[in-house]
């Protein structure tokens, strides 16, 4: 180094910069500032808003109501319907996506011609925008012009067209099927990466010991991909819980309240009815529920995986 630092002031400044205690914070600061401003401040703002009776087109009539919105919420039958729908929504979609993803990954992990192409094609549903998928499936399900009913009638599985999205008993399951189709490639790709990390020698040793394919799967494959399953599962629970775009485009929450989930209900209240006080109280309540679930999941699953 030919540069020489002459003044003691400058030397001190550099020593502060180089100080190992400060540097990490300085490097983290931009990310923290951004997160605080665009994530935490709106969250705190939402909690405050939920204590107000705030209807957007009557900004001057806004008043503090304390826990009033929450009181109203717990006696609102639509809230309980939406909560139950949310449980079905997460409880079915994530395991189905995971199961289908696991099967796909195991298949794609075998040697077969055009495997590279198959691996690339499988990602398509995941790569398409949700709104495109929702519109596509809305037309597939359409009882008058849709292709699904045509096929089912042709195969004599049903006698007349089923109104998939217009029947309150069926609609939510029809949307779950759509989301399963959209989300399984994510699991497939993650699990495939996990599968490739399992040493071949373990399988060789097991087959020499006479273990069947099924036992190899249970005792080598599953433990090998458990960390991937746990992490991908957690991510998907959070994403699926919050995703309402597909439901919104396919049914708008209907027929009636049959496909209302809590995030969708919050969206409809806040953005369509402009009742921000009540809408945010739904969102805050749901965040608490989801946060509690995620904490529990992390505590249990991660312990299992580490063991």
């Amino acid at each position: 180094m030919s540069l020489s630092i002459s003044s003691p002031m400058a030397r001190r400044r550099i020593s502060i910069w180089r100080s190992e205690r400060l540097l990490p914070y300085l490097l983290l600061a931009p990310a923290v500032v951004v997160t605080v401003v665009i994530v935490f401040m709106p969250m705190v703002q939402a909690v405050f808003t939920s204590f107000y009776d705030l209807i957007l087109f009557r900004p001057n009539a806004s008043k503090f109501v304390g826990f009033g919105n929450y009181g109203k919420l717990f006696s609102d039958p639509v809230f309980w319907t939406a909560l139950w729908n949310t449980i079905i929504w997460i409880g079915l979609t994530v395991p189905l996506q995971m199961g289908l993803g696991l099967m796909t990954a195991v298949l794609l992990n075998r040697e077969f011609p055009w495997r590279g192409l198959a691996r690339a094609l499988i990602i398509i549903p995941w790569a398409l925008p949700s709104v495109v998928i929702a519109l596509m499936w809305r037309w597939i399900y359409d009882p008058n012009t849709g292709v699904l009913n045509d096929i089912l009638i042709y195969l004599s599985i049903v006698q007349s067209a089923v109104p998939w999205l217009a029947d309150p008993k069926v609609a939510i399951y029809a949307i779950i099927a759509t989301l399963t189709w959209q989300g399984f490639p994510f699991f497939a790709v993650m699990i495939l990466a996990g599968l490739q990390g399992i040493p071949k020698s373990q399988y060789e040793a097991a087959s020499i010991d006479g273990a069947s394919t099924w036992r190899q799967f249970v005792h080598i494959t599953l433990p090998g991909i458990a960390p991937v399953l746990a992490t991908a599962g957690l991510l998907r629970v959070i994403w699926v819980a919050n995703s309402m775009d597909v439901i919104f485009v396919m049914t708008g929450g209907g027929p009636g309240y049959a496909t209302h989930t809590l995030p969708l209900y919050a969206f409809i209240k806040a953005r369509q009815n402009l009742d921000f006080g009540y809408g945010t109280s739904i969102a805050v309540t749901f965040t608490i529920f989801l946060g509690a679930f995620v904490a529990l999941y992390l505590a249990r699953t991660m312990r299992e995986v580490e063991r």
Binding site: Q45, D142, A166, G252
Partner: protein
């Protein structure tokens, strides 16, 4: 809220600072066109050539979230200067103090005399002031398949009884159904033709009158008992009813002249239109309006007025409507109207005498946006009775 307001104020200040620095005045304008052939660029060019000091930033905002975006941008302080607006939104916008009165400008405007009669009267604000400048209009009527009616030896229905009989005769489930009902979003105006015609009103006590409940029961029975409506109806929106009608799945449906081009392209002479049937002693159809308004938050109201009045004048208005497929609001433009087949224009004109707009109250916006749809779907699918549906909707109009 204080933070939001400060933020909005900051944004507004920054915006106005930017405006004063710029030499040309910029008018931000929001509109919604479904049609991919969009003449807006040409209209903007023509306007800017005639008004060198004014620049137009026209933004096509998707219809499905048009009002959500508009209200939030108004509250957030980032609203456009002018926008396309419908009558049902006027009470909310007026309540927010978001509208700029334009009565004086209209009175001194040379295009006023060319506007069709009565349109300004229909568009008056809840406080009697003029905030809206009409830009296009449609009226809902009944589309029917001439070939299917002829084959069944039927005449287009004039009354609700005729309508039900025809629908029953034309139904051969699951291949064909008599009537394509829009049970999903935006279907309230079809519903109105059968229920508002028989005395239902959006005011205290107006929905729970015995005759209104009976009319609603009659309509739900068409779906549940007579089964003349496709089972998909509870989730059907505009796209679905049009697709079903085009494919021959349904023999009648209710919509306006905006879809006539598309239907003629698919069905040719096999589609025609008549006014909606008379039910009980009344006849009701929805007057579908679209106007332009200037927002009070705008700092360029004069330039904005020049732009919106430009769009409402003679041939400009005709060009505007060629994109939306609706009808011009000018007398000079109507005189040699070539955009639609005569039979659809006739059905529209014949429907005008009993075409109505919904009352201008804030609750009507919620009725139109969410409440009608949710309750209708529940009634159609048997989760509630038609009577309960009317009682629940009545709670919106309790005061």
């Amino acid at each position: 809220m204080k933070f939001l307001r400060t933020l909005a104020l900051g944004a507004a200040l920054a915006a106005s600072a930017a405006f004063t620095q710029a030499k040309a005045e910029t008018v931000r304008f929001w509109y919604h066109f479904d049609n991919p052939a969009n003449p807006m660029t040409d209209l903007v060019k023509k306007f800017e050539a005639a008004n060198p000091g004014i620049k137009i930033e026209a933004e096509n905002v998707p219809w499905n979230s048009y009002y959500d975006n508009l209200y939030t941008s108004l509250v957030g302080g980032n609203a456009p200067d002018a926008a396309m607006v419908k009558l049902f939104a006027q009470p909310r916008l007026a309540e927010m103090g978001a509208l700029e009165p334009i009565g004086k400008q209209i009175d001194s405007w040379q295009g006023k005399a060319d506007l069709l009669d009565n349109l300004l009267e229909l568009n008056k604000g809840p406080d009697g002031k003029q905030y809206y400048l009409p830009i296009q209009y449609v009226v809902l009527y009944l589309y029917y398949r001439t070939d299917l009616f002829q084959a069944a030896g039927l005449q287009p229905p004039k009354t609700c009884e005729d309508f039900r009989n025809a629908a029953i005769k034309l139904t051969n489930a699951p291949q064909t159904y008599g009537f394509g009902l829009r049970g999903g979003k935006g279907g309230w105006d079809q519903w109105g033709a059968f229920v508002m015609s028989q005395g239902a009103e959006l005011k205290p006590g107006g929905l729970v009158k015995p005759e209104a409940i009976a009319a609603n029961q009659w309509l739900v029975d068409l779906f549940q008992k007579d089964k003349v409506i496709p089972p998909s109806a509870p989730n059907d929106g505009f796209q679905e009813i049009v697709a079903a009608f085009k494919s021959g799945k349904t023999a009648m449906t209710i919509h306006h002249i905006g879809s006539s081009k598309d239907l003629v392209a698919a069905l040719g002479d096999k589609v025609s239109a008549v006014p909606v049937p008379k039910c009980g002693n009344g006849q009701w159809t929805s007057y579908g309006d679209e106007s332009l308004a200037i927002f009070s938050s705008s700092s360029v109201t004069d330039a904005a007025w020049k732009w919106i009045s430009f769009l409402a004048e003679g041939q400009n208005n005709v060009a505007f409507n060629s994109a939306t497929g609706q009808l011009t609001v000018t007398k000079s433009g109507s005189a040699d109207w070539k955009l639609h087949e005569r039979r659809f224009v006739d059905a529209t004109v014949q429907s005008l005498p009993f075409a109505k707009v919904l009352p201008q109250t804030s609750a009507v916006s919620e009725f139109v946006n969410t409440a009608w749809q949710t309750n209708m779907q529940q009634a159609l699918t048997g989760q509630i009775t038609p009577k309960q549906m009317m009682e629940q909707l009545q709670t919106l109009f309790a005061q």
